[in-house]
Amino acid sequence: MKKVILTLCFLVFSSSISYSDTTDQTWMNIVELKKTGDHCVDDKNCFNRYHPYIPPAAKANPGDIIILHTRDALDSEFKIDSIPADLATVDLGLVHPMTGPVHINGAKRGDAIEIELLDIAPDQYGYTVIAPGFGFLRDIFTEPYIVNWKLTRVGAVSAEIPGVTIPYEAFPGSIGVLPGIMEVNKYKTREAELAAAGGAALGPSPAGALPDAICGPNGSYKDDCLRTIPPRENGGNIDVQQMQIGTKMVFPCFIDGCGIFAGDIHYAQGDGEVSGTAIEMGSVMQIRVKILPGKGKDMDMPYVVGNDQIIDMEPTRYYQTIGIPLKAKGEIPPSHAYLDSSKFVDLENASEDLVIAARHALIQMIDYLVNEHGLTKEQAYVLCSVAADLRVGQVVDIPNYVVTAVLALDVFDKYRN
């Protein structure tokens, strides 16, 4: 009899367990944009140029949970065993695949849209590259190089830089809203003027452009689809690592429905992203949006609001180099070549120049990593790209403004438990 009572008690207890499970309790209204196919060209939810006539991939209401499955920045075929020779055959026309656009019901041109970043789930693999002709020190680092990272939310590790673990501080490298026709014309005009002056501006480029029907070689607006490389007033490739989970980003809406998008997710990146890439990865990200009626009219640029996210990213121990605008006589860094200045070339000390100061700080950091930690120059440059922060010290002590490079020493396994 005692056995029967015990069995009955167990059955009652067991059945109460199944009723107390929480999985079936849901409140989210989810709008999910999944990936289809291997690359952006195979995927109706993916595009890689900006134009107001790119049709929405989905519609969502304010407050909905929008889940975006995103692709890596180069829409690449890199694998965990990729080598530098694979980098030379990357098609740069495919940069950057974006997931969206999502039409936000009720949003109008002139409104602002607040995008709250709720979560980023990383892929298992990410990469950082040095691409010849690209990056802050492209005149110094001219050979291709790749680091393949194994990712978990605990840290990123690689065979190419052993003894280093990069903490998980993911954020969207690119996020924003579609520009309107007026904005497309404005951006095109000013960038064409810059290109004519020898500046580093890329005009529309239909090869590899998506969606093909609008931006491709025979597309209806092929000469008006903007490249995704420069960030602009509509957001895009901002690459600011403080846009962490929990922060809210606010963008002006230039078209009805806003046309929000995201992609190019970074597992981690230093302030500066100096080699040209962070830890690039695909992801599944969750966002939620709110319309701020009429607030977009007076916005010059997007902005970010957060709480303690910046504090969480600060190092507990660090090494910091100090850069001032010094350079070699006769040296013209690529960033200044378009100025074609005979005055500048012979100076050793530039005046009030943060770019030259940043180079000075960064080169010192690379030297420190090579001399004190035994890294190769390429390993050091990549480590700086994913973990060292270029910071402005001051912009008053003429002529030598200061930029520092800060590296959290905890990235070295030898300093951590």
Binding site: I83, P84, A85, D86, A88, T89, D91, P132, E143
Partner: protein
């Protein structure tokens, strides 16, 4: 450029580049490994890669638009040199001077690449680059 799906091409391309950079340091050759035949055809036919190393059958197929390259149609490519079963193809638009320099460098490589094949013996694969013919005929280096 080599291709991942034509396995022997990448390791040999590394040796070849090392040799070319020793003989012609101004060339600053770099290895490139395409992920598949489609990328090879795309990069080569759009002049983004001046040289491609393929196994003999794939080299023929690239030129004739057959086999792995069937869906892309025929591609303009000239023969520069052979190494056993591997064929080095060159962009026809590459200046004669460059092809002349490359061929003269490769001609001297017989002690390193034992199975080198002069392009004269590879006419069944495709036309030989005019600059390479000039080098084979012992003509002076062309101006362009």
């Amino acid at each position: 450029m080599s291709v991942k799906t034509d396995a022997p091409t990448y390791p040999f391309s590394e040796l070849l580049i090392k040799y070319i950079n020793k003989e012609l340091p101004e060339a600053q050759s770099k290895p490139a490994r395409a992920k598949d035949f489609e990328r090879v055809q795309s990069l080569f036919s759009t002049n983004q890669m001046p040289l491609v190393l393929l196994s003999k059958q794939n080299a023929k197929d690239l030129i004739n638009g057959e086999g792995e390259f069937k869906e892309f149609g025929s591609t303009d490519a000239n023969v520069l040199y052979g190494f056993g079963d591997l064929i080095l193809l060159i962009q026809p638009s590459l200046p004669n001077r460059h092809a002349w320099l490359l061929l003269n460098a490769l001609k001297k490589s017989t002690n390193i690449f034992k199975d080198g094949i002069s392009p004269e013996k590879l006419k069944d694969i495709g036309e030989v680059h005019p600059g390479a013919i000039m080098a084979l005929n012992g003509e002076e280096m062309p101006d362009s």
